[in-house]
């Protein structure tokens, strides 16, 4: 840093794409997968969005009233190349550092290393995402209701009948919040867990839109937005600062298989399904963390806010008796777990997720369902891929040998194991379970700032 300017002071909220800073908490989404067929026309389409001439890209700037829709745009590396930017913004030169290798190589090329194998292999992904170099733009449309989603899609000319000039629609993904027991949209995912509770508190992000003070350490903004201070070379030209990367993931959830597994464990090993569900996740399905309430999900004093649900750090549970080392949330955010080497807070991800597919019940059991996930960071390799490779699909980092994340890991009955410590010296091992989450698609994309969008695409 020079002139004592902190990276936080360089954050320009009204220039940063909004989904990086805040979850919109909207009920429905449509994520479009687009291909550039003619660069000049496609640039005009993007420029119109950046300048608000059609719909407007949503920034992290202050809202007076919550809008009826939000819109964000991400580009794959191949997309930036297909758009034939001027030499002053040549993608190869702009992202000339190891930090950007994952982005440049793309999600398909990197997929096997993060556990996308067998039925999760890129060759098995949905058609719109399975061909390398084909996906260029991801357009993320969020709305409060279905009608708005349809109207805004029409305004974007992204429908079955309409397509903007210079753009081909490869496909789209619809997502919607699942209804809670009260019939209102909820934060619950198909497995029945409440999701999206733990998000990093980012230094420089407004608390109003970000995360409440929950006793968790603040994470530098350069871990999520390209700013000075991170362990990477900044992109060149500097106009690309204030941008972020994200791994977009289509994650199919095998709820029927999960529920059958729970029943089987109850019959064979006498394990209560709700206890096993909580041990695998690290939280009870209602979001109450095992580290605070290991015996029961009934903790009304915690359910008042996400801050309460996040105010723990495993420091009083070194052996994992309350919350197993191998549980999903302890692996992917080890907090102050003393068993994890190094500085786990350097690997945090901002997560934006929403379910797709119909809610699970006996009639719909065989339908496809899952989660549309965005994992936002400044380093796809150092954060997203690190978490997937070292923490989700390995166990060595916490002395669990070959064990993998019981929910998200690439588990197969032949070798899957999940250890549940029952005391400081004893544990129960659950073996032979299948993979419950299958990757159905992915793309690595870059979310430029509004300034960068105008710089790159204004004609």
């Amino acid at each position: 840093m020079t002139n004592n300017v902190t990276s936080e002071q360089l954050i320009k909220l009204d220039d940063i794409q909004g989904l990086i800073v805040r979850g919109y908490n909207m009920n429905v989404v449509r994520y479009f997968v687009l291909r550039v067929t003619e660069s000049t026309e496609a640039k005009k389409f993007i420029s119109d969005l950046a300048n608000g001439r059609t719909l407007k890209i949503t920034t992290a700037g202050t809202w007076t009233d919550k809008p009826s829709y939000c819109l964000n745009i991400g580009f794959t590396f191949e997309g930036l190349k297909a758009l034939k930017l001027s030499s002053k913004c040549d993608p190869d030169q702009a992202f000339n550092h190891r930090n950007y290798t994952a982005f440049k190589e793309g999600a398909i090329f990197r997929s096997e290393a993060i556990g996308d194998i067998k039925e999760s292999a890129a060759s098995e992904w949905v058609d719109s995402l399975k061909v390398a170099d084909k996906v260029h733009i991801l357009l993320f449309l969020f709305a409060e209701n279905e009608q708005t989603l349809i109207e805004k899609s029409e305004q974007l000319q992204l429908t079955d009948k309409l397509t903007p000039r210079g753009i081909e629609i490869l496909g789209h993904f619809n997502g919607a919040k699942l209804l809670g027991k009260d019939g209102k949209p909820s934060d619950t995912i198909h497995f029945g867990y409440r999701d999206g509770i733990a998000q990093p508190r980012v230094k420089g992000f407004p608390t109003k839109y970000g995360i409440e003070d929950n006793d968790q350490p603040e994470i530098p903004a350069y871990q999520f937005i390209l700013l000075p201070g991170g362990s990477y070379k900044l992109p060149n030209p500097a106009v690309l600062l204030n941008g972020s990367f994200a791994a977009f993931r289509v994650l199919e959830q095998n709820v029927a298989g999960f529920e059958m597994f729970l029943q089987l464990q109850q019959e064979v090993n006498g394990i209560d399904p709700e206890i096993l569900t909580a041990k695998m996740c690290g939280r009870w399905r209602n979001g109450v963390p095992l580290d605070i309430s290991p015996q029961s999900p009934y903790a009304p004093e915690l359910l008042v806010s996400d801050a309460k649900l996040n105010s723990f750090d495993y420091s009083l549970d070194p052996e994992g008796v309350k919350c197993p080392w191998g549980s999903h949330i302890r692996r992917t955010n080890p907090r102050h777990s003393a068993e994890v080497p190094g500085t786990p807070n350097g690997r945090r991800l901002i997560r934006r997720g929403i379910p797709y597919g119909t809610a699970y019940n006996h009639q719909t059991a065989n339908e496809a369902r899952g989660l549309l996930g965005l994992f936002i960071c400044a380093s796809l390799e150092g954060q997203f891929e690190f978490v997937m490779k070292e923490w989700v699909n390995k166990g060595e980092f916490t002395s669990l040998g070959n064990e993998k994340d019981p929910l998200l890991g690439d588990n197969y009955p032949k070798n899957s194991t999940f250890t549940i410590p029952t005391s400081e010296t004893e544990s129960v091992k659950i073996n032979g379970f299948e993979r419950f989450i299958t990757t159905k698609g992915g793309a690595y994309c870059f979310f430029p700032s509004i300034t960068a969008l105008k710089y790159m695409f204004d004609l």
């Binding site: 550092h97 190891r98 930090n99 991170g230 362990s231 990477y232 070379k233 420091s315 070194p318 102050h336 777990s337 003393a338 068993e339 994890v340 080497p341 190094g342 500085t343 350097g346 380093s379 150092g382 690190f386 070292e390 060595e396 980092f397 002395s399 669990l400 040998g401």
Partner: protein
């Protein structure tokens, strides 16, 4: 928990740059730097994977002008995990320290700043890491975070700080 070895040694030994006019120049600068407050342990505390770190000068010699100096700098440590896997932590927390050391080490200048040359930095460290014939650990399954409190509060010492009889 298994008894997997969770630490490993680094025995980094690299030649110090020899200045034609004053062969002892870089050694002396390096020694002053390592003795200064700039090397204070804060960065290593933040990395939280380093058990011990000893800076040692090796191969004492005498220049034509009569000045004594050392030809190599050694950094012997025991650390957790795999260096390449956790290089991000090193670069972020002790990158500036390595930058200041590398000025005075052979083949080091081209790596500065290490945050922009992570791959080459890893190769450099591996290249000068000496093979260990055998090593001992009293607690092979323990990592720094397991042994000490959060945050790590390690301290740098001088040779003269050692207790004497």
């Amino acid at each position: 928990m298994s008894n997997t070895i969770r630490q490993q040694p680094l025995s980094f030994v690299a030649p110090i740059v020899i200045d034609d006019q004053d062969p002892a120049l870089h050694y002396e600068t390096l020694r002053a730097l390592i003795s200064s407050d700039k090397v204070n342990g804060n960065g290593l505390n933040a990395v939280a994977t380093v058990h011990f770190a000893n800076f040692i000068f090796l191969e004492k010699t005498t220049a034509a002008n009569g000045k004594e100096y050392y030809k190599k700098l050694a950094l012997f440590t025991f650390y957790d995990g795999d260096f390449e896997t956790y290089v991000k932590d090193f670069v972020e927390n002790v990158g500036a320290l390595f930058d200041s050391l590398l000025v005075h080490l052979e083949n080091g200048k081209s790596l500065i700043p290490v945050r922009e040359n992570e791959d080459d930095f890893v190769k450099y460290i591996k290249n000068y890491d000496q093979p260990v014939a055998r090593w001992y650990s009293a607690y092979p399954d323990k990592i720094v975070n397991k042994i000490t409190s959060h945050p790590v509060q390690g301290v740098m010492y001088y040779d003269t700080d050692r207790p004497t009889k």
